[in-house]
Symmetry: C2
Subunit: 558 residues, 2 copies
């Protein structure tokens, strides 16, 4: 049977975050594989309480690891490389990335005691990495983190352009400018672009994307206009923004103090890799606290309202000896990611209560996006003229909209979501398989499956409360009638003012005294009966049915 080329997203297709895309080439079932990106997404209280990180289930890849050649990481954002330390041991192949990204990768591996020499630093195009049937070049693109790359993947079946996350910024402050002529060249080489897998994040933004450069003046004007302490927050990995913020501080006679671990780490990686040049010297929090308030600017983590980040700490009062006061100013040089509105709002309001003047990007002055907007996406299509388009990195709505754009440009385009294996060899793409995918949750230090029921039980306890019943059955199969009831997350008193656990105990005692021996002898039956009574009594008394755990202890004759 002829060899074939396929695309198989394991994460990122049908969601924003958790990017992981597989390409395969070879005889059916024996295709050699590469993986592009291995990112995480973040948990939330609504769907995954207690879970910090969520990553793609790579079981399929693990089962086929003898066919996996390498992992390529497009850029250093957590949703593209955050799972590397957790999942690399299951895959065990070399990881290729540009220097800045590779440095971040190595730090992650180092933290968990994994070897870092597995991460190879790659020069951008025209340098080529050959892996099995794949020849891969890193194409510098502009984004909101330095040294982002698209991948040009040449295969016997044709050229794939995997854009990664990107915007078309010709003056990005830090990092690689968008150069249309270079893109043109790539489109014109050989047979041109057979397949383009393209970022869909901002497909609903109808105005052309704006350059990082345009922020310098408004941010400088803003800092200069403030009379007391100035604080700004943004993503730590947005090195260009840090640069813009720091430059504004210096221009208005302020010293810069970085707060938050990620902030200090990113600046140090930026300096170490030579990305960040001329960054002003920074001061520590002690020194910042000693300076007059109008001589300092804090650049801090926590633009998304993260509870433990510097922004949140400052909004609650003191942090590392620094505290905000009436008349200070706080800038969110960032966009609130959908879903984080409440957390960010909480911090803004807490700052407002301290008397701090809060500024954000609502007038479009203090932030630009790192993703291609709709007109930029159209420009990419026009430049690259791909035969086939597979929109990636987007929710279903985004992928759908992107497919419409591609079709209007004359490309063949399909919505492909996680787990769908799409053959790209012929003129028309074709679904050839569906692979089991899913999500892994990092819980404490343990990876659990999203469908294991563990998180479902947590959600149920959170919604319904938890009633614990302990009963003891003696040597002669008599239940001691004093069942013990503990409630957690439930009202202690009924509407009528009764003690709820004692009330449940009374009702259980009544049942246990008369329960038939068959029920008592059978753990499962006894458990069910007790559970049912407990839920009924609670429903009657407080109008809700709790989760119930019954512990039956059987005494044995010694």
């Amino acid at each position: 049977m002829a060899e074939r080329l396929f695309y198989l997203p394991l994460g990122g297709a049908g969601e924003i975050g958790m990017n992981a895309y597989v390409y395969g080439y070879g005889a059916p079932g024996k295709e050699r594989l590469i993986l592009v990106d291995l990112g995480v997404t973040f948990g939330d209280m609504e769907s995954s309480p207690g879970i910090d990180l969520i990553m793609p289930d790579v079981t399929w890849l693990e089962e086929n690891r003898d066919r996996l050649e390498a992992i390529f990481i497009t850029h250093g954002h957590e949703d593209h490389l955050g799972a590397i330390a957790h999942l690399w041991p299951r895959l065990g192949v070399p990881v290729y990335a540009r220097k800045f990204t590779a440095t971040l990768c190595r730090l992650k591996l180092e933290e968990v005691g994994l070897p870092t020499d597995t991460v190879k630093i790659v020069e951008p195009r025209p340098h080529v990495i050959e892996q099995g049937p794949f020849s891969v070049q890193f194409l510098p693109v502009s984004h909101s983190i330095p040294e982002s790359a698209g991948l040009i993947i040449d295969t016997p079946a044709g050229r794939i352009l995997h854009t990664g996350d990107l915007k078309l910024d010709e003056t990005p402050v830090v990092g690689d400018p968008f150069e249309p002529a270079k893109w043109q060249e790539i489109a014109n080489e050989g047979q041109g672009i057979k397949v383009m897998a393209c970022d869909s994040t901002n497909v609903f933004a109808t105005h052309p994307g704006r350059s990082e450069t345009i922020l310098a003046e408004p941010i400088r004007d803003w800092v200069t206009a403030q009379k007391n302490m100035v604080v700004a927050t943004t993503f730590a990995s947005n090195i260009a923004r840090l640069r813009t913020l720091a430059d504004a501080a210096i221009a208005s006679g302020r010293k810069v103090c970085l707060l938050g671990r990620a902030m200090r780490r990113m600046v140090s990686v930026g300096l170490e890799t030579g990305i960040l040049t001329d960054f002003p010297e920074t001061i520590g929090p002690d020194e910042a606290a000693d300076l007059p308030r109008d001589k300092v600017m804090l650049i801090v983590t926590g633009s998304q309202g993260e509870r433990r980040a510097a922004s949140a700490q400052l909004s609650r009062g003191r942090y590392l000896g620094l505290s905000l006061k009436e008349g200070d100013s706080f800038l969110f040089s960032s966009k609130t990611i959908p879903g984080n509105e409440r957390s960010v709002g909480r911090i803004m309001n807490a700052l407002s209560e301290l008397g701090v003047n809060v500024f954000d990007d609502k007038d479009g002055l203090y932030h630009v996006s790192g993703h291609a907007n709709r007109p930029d996406i159209e420009r990419i299509h026009d430049l690259m003229k791909p035969q086939i388009v597979v929109p990636m990195h987007g929710e279903h709505l985004h992928l759908r909209e992107h497919v419409e754009i591609a079709r209007s440009k004359g490309s063949i385009a399909e919505i492909v979501t996680n787990g769908t294996m799409l053959e790209l060899t012929g003129d028309v793409p074709r679904v050839i398989d569906h692979v089991e995918t899913g999500r892994l949750y990092l819980d404490g230090n343990t990876l659990i499956g999203a469908m294991d029921g563990i998180v479902r039980d947590r959600i149920r306890m959170a919604l319904n409360g938890h009633a614990l019943i302990s009963v003891i059955v003696d040597e002669d199969d008599n239940v001691l009638p004093d069942a013990w009831v503990e409630l957690m997350g439930l009202p202690a008193r009924t509407r009528g003012g009764d003690d709820l656990p004692r009330h449940v105990e009374t009702e259980l005692a009544e049942f246990l005294e008369t329960a038939n021996r068959k029920t008592v002898a059978d753990d499962k039956k006894l458990d069910e009966a007790i559970r049912k009574i407990t839920r009924q009594v609670c429903m009657e008394e407080i109008g809700k049915k709790p989760e119930v755990t019954v512990i039956i202890s059987r005494l044995t004759a010694e």
Copy 2:
């Protein structure tokens, strides 16, 4: 001592939702009181799992109920009247509202078996309700629900204008148009406006608010352009919007089917009170299912992504015999309230997966807000020229911004948050007291305090999981070494593959065998020791410390 006038928000000042504002007039400590609005806010998984409704803690008002004259409800939104059925029994005074609002109030009271004749229907200004020292007129205002009202409250200390929620719509489709001349008249009567308590919800929207009327054409055009089934969702209480949507359906030859309890209730109250005239006849879901798809429009509940509403049900597949298909169209004629983005996004994506074309207001064509935007707020200030402004119905940030506006107009303005008693008698407002306020949670059918620890425990169980330990101490104070461990919301296996509950049991058995008699004899000490070991073992094995409940059963010699 001289009589005085005060303002005391119990809810709504420092938050959007849960409105409840007290005004007092009389000798200090003996002021007669009125309450304006008694609303709810909605719980969320992050801060109040398992809680459907949140309402203001009215303990202070209950303690002073002999001084309370009446409750005035400005309009029928849940955040202004939703707590009436739950809290009225604690207050027991007459409730005044305009007919539409009063009808909704009575339905709520009726549902829980409370007398409905406590709700008095009020005609708008010039009709005056005299209650103690207060003379109150209902001033019709436009908003996103019919018969909204501001209150003109005349007191011996001067005139208060309590705007309620409002917009300045001169052509509101349904309900009362904004008539500047009437407002002018109110400002010019007597001494003019002493105090204006004014809606702050949209203070950050910088463009002038738009009229409901402008939606008719785009919505009609949209419906006409759709080829298959059409569905639209909006707030059921937005009767004007229902009218606009239904008119569009009829204009394009479709019949209207209302789905969702709130939708049917609102339309029936609208018809009953004479608010809704010429509403087309509607059909039931059976009839809708039998008609050709291009002859039907469903108008459905669930614009905020509510899990059990019609929108969510339709996005999951069938609902009442109706199901959506490839090529159908779904319009969110609504704005997503901050915090609901994820829920709404989930439904939109689920619809997209069904092949449904999803439309929303991102281009500003299919929704207008019910609140005054910043230029409208400025216009209100200019018209009413209040001496003192207390911004209400807003988060701290909103109140702060609104104070700036008021001051720029020459008014005296203060940020007043829930629990702050502000005297308004003199020329300058003055804080005279702080009253304990807070939130009550409706949990099942029971009202619990937000600070009772119940919800805190639920959140902890959701984040950390719950370990239950049962130990038995025999008649001679020996602990039976086989402690029983049940885990809920925790992984069953350690990273190393061990059975986690058995592992905890082993560790506990080791401790119990050697535990000293003092510890064993003391419930509290034994509980603490077991809890500590359990948490330690879990931390070592899975990297997290669960919540622990220990049940100690002591056998007594019979």
